[in-house]
Symmetry: C2
Subunit: 532 residues, 2 copies
Amino acid sequence: MTLRVDWRASVSLVGTVVKWLSVPLVFPLLVGLYYGEGISTFVTTMVVAVVVGWSLERVEPDPEMGAREGFLMVALTWFAVSIVGGLPYVIAGNDISLLSAYPYLAVQSGPSTLAHPVNALFESMSGFTTTGATVMGDISFETHSRALLMWRQLTQWLGGMGIVVLAVAILPELSVGGAQLMDAEAPGPGIQKLTPRIAETARALWKAYLGITALEILLLFGLHVLGNVLGTPLAPQMTFYNAVAHGFTTMATGGFSPEARSVEAFSAVVQWVIVPFMIAAGTNFALFWHVLNGNPRRLFEDVEFRFYIGILAVLSAILSVLLYTHQGLVFVPNGPAVAGNIESSIRHATFQLVSIVTTTGYASMDFNTWNSSAQYLMLGAMLIGGCAGSTGGAIKIVRWLVILKSFRRELFTNVHPEAVRPVRLGGRALDERAVRGIYAFTLLYVVIFLVATLLLFLDIERTGPNINTLEAMSAIASTLGNVGPGFQLVGPMNNYLPFSNSAKLLMVVLMWVGRLEIFPVFVLLTSAYWRS
Amino acid sequence: MTLRVDWRASVSLVGTVVKWLSVPLVFPLLVGLYYGEGISTFVTTMVVAVVVGWSLERVEPDPEMGAREGFLMVALTWFAVSIVGGLPYVIAGNDISLLSAYPYLAVQSGPSTLAHPVNALFESMSGFTTTGATVMGDISFETHSRALLMWRQLTQWLGGMGIVVLAVAILPELSVGGAQLMDAEAPGPGIQKLTPRIAETARALWKAYLGITALEILLLFGLHVLGNVLGTPLAPQMTFYNAVAHGFTTMATGGFSPEARSVEAFSAVVQWVIVPFMIAAGTNFALFWHVLNGNPRRLFEDVEFRFYIGILAVLSAILSVLLYTHQGLVFVPNGPAVAGNIESSIRHATFQLVSIVTTTGYASMDFNTWNSSAQYLMLGAMLIGGCAGSTGGAIKIVRWLVILKSFRRELFTNVHPEAVRPVRLGGRALDERAVRGIYAFTLLYVVIFLVATLLLFLDIERTGPNINTLEAMSAIASTLGNVGPGFQLVGPMNNYLPFSNSAKLLMVVLMWVGRLEIFPVFVLLTSAYWRS
Ligand SMILES: [K+]
Ligand SMILES: [K+]
């Protein structure tokens, strides 16, 4: 047992990750080159990432990681990456890049709300944590270049499977202690070791992630090409750029879209194609690894996966009926016809429900037009979350499964007080400490949700905007659960701009805390962590 | 261990309690005689109670109670008492009493919404469970006699300290097994045995309850008399009838008032006097027993009581500021001046916050006029609840205290995984099963709250009324937590009449489940309960 936290070791490894962030920045740089948009934004950010990262590494040239250092490293990494990853927004918005004197390298970007550092941090944290809540005033290639929007999409893809998991997969200096780091990044249900060496497990997860993303991109763009070949508009808007963008943000359960009206901009076929990929993104990626290794039955034998599919099916069915029977549905002049249309009702209900439960956050239509019942169902669905080991956020399916099973156990022991009965999951008896941890996490999540909503209301008293309970609760549930959109003011076609800077910073913290599943951040607030 | 549930024993004891319900019915009967209102309603109900109770007792002439029979007996008792106790509403409303041929004994009551059996059951369950939600269309002596309204107030006082506790206190046949029954009626934190014999403990609790109720009645009526003597309007509306009525429903944390506009009808002095009695009603009555036995320090040494006072103080202060600064407060032409008025802001904030946290449900003003922030604070406060061993409902202070302490423990064991650290409460280490039970209860409470709100919304789809998220959530939180009023449609000056019969029956079940703290009802739904 170490006597004190070696914060220098943590900071040094944060520096390593920040330094390596310059590599994915090559991608939007290439996009910028291709579209002739100028690259100085990204070159500047790469320079900053390398310099800052290298400097932080100097704090401790030979870092040794224990469990405590792991919490600090993971928590700091996500914040540091969000700050550095938000620089392109500030640079592009303010045109302060180092190379702006050279016109052919110049930034191509109109006046942007992201020029403000708080907005840039919000957008960046929303990206890496795969939340997808936006403070972009105007989502368009005219205001923000194609390259900058691609960076926005890429941050979600990087954050989806986990920045630390990626770091463990490719950085040899993290092969020792990597399991602890990966556990800290996704602490709840724990990482399944797929292979004896943790770096190989991390690589396996990232390979599955990469493979399914590539498959989605191919399918989406393939539809576009096929439509052109056949002369029918199968997916007219789904250009290669859009296919890549939505591949990134579907598989990350991110939800950012370069289209201002999200997936409403695309055809019904595209919407149907995206649904199974959202479901896959909310599935434990370790199961895909088993499938790829010739064990397809592992997928359907998994109790969490079966429960997940069951929840999606039942809630989608309820929502379909609500939309079809349209009681109280607001009439939208040019909106998609839903009420009374079977295909449309089922499609929008399924798409939207899957999008919310998996915490993707895409919108196939403006669900602000739905009635209170449908909106309440969606608000509740924001608490559910994806499977353990998926890219989805919120409370997560496995926790709900354990909680429901433990309710049965509790009722049983009320009748049979002398009985000792473990909670079983997939035939395996769970350790009582694991059950306790799941209870504590879920209740803490609910308490944070309730208290943060109160804080938001207190902030609003000073600064506005005047919002109702549903709006406030949905904004908090959506950022804490890394979902993205909320209702009304923060509806899927709107944004989080109306909030004050203090409210936005509150939500930045919620996205960060939600992505790391509370404990890695909250332990840093206890004296027990810092004492020897 | 018994092999099967002896349901006959449970039913027989339910019969005993129903039979004895005829005794408290004497009180409204006397009130009716005094005001010359006719007594046939209560005579009829007494006859029914005795006949039904006696018949049920015949099911098993010599009942023997075990733990399992206790759950069934307690759950059935509360439902049976609510049904029989609701008869006066149906009889008075429909004028179907046995004695209506004799004019001097006739019912004096106008056409009443309570004539409908579902409404009568709702009002009766709301009474006994001390919820205070009403489906009376018009609360007045003209429509409902003084006697009937006094019965309504008395049901809350009977339910407050617990019907089963009262039965254990006075029925010798319950002296064996009484502790189990009292535990089943208030299962969560457990009854403190104050004396070696459980019947004496039950009597001690009821004596403290009776004493404080009498004190409040004297104080309230004393103010009225003093005002008359001094010639100043201290409490002009607080007649002896009103003093008794509010004494009953304050100490029960019930919230029924014979005044249509609740405690808004009374002077500021009366409102201030009621506040400490609401606080007392939300306190563990065992502490008062200690105080009365010469141990006043026990009150302030109690960690739950201190936490309770702290919560009330902090939340009242926040609410006072919200009301005083009046951001977004709706202007009410003839309403009480709050914004900008220090005394009025503090009084209404304190009164209303205490009323909601203790689950009393009185209103000192129509908080439907408050803004979203203040209403959200009140919605959250509905989940808190009174102390263990109080007459208050909802989740209860001691559970929140244990949960917050266990969060600290969980954060500690995240850093020190090898540590074994019990949760301590007032210097005592809690059993892990107790902590687990508290977690399970609280999460189950939250899940029931979320699911019941969805059920309410699905019901509304068929039948209306069209309500928003806040209205639906507040209606469910308020009935499940035995609070009483909600917001907007179900605000403190409104009622639950607009809901369909199915929605009302859902709420009847929620009030019942909430009062018995879930488990005694839910265990009846498990196969493990009924199997040998
Ligand atoms: K998302
Ligand atoms: K109440």
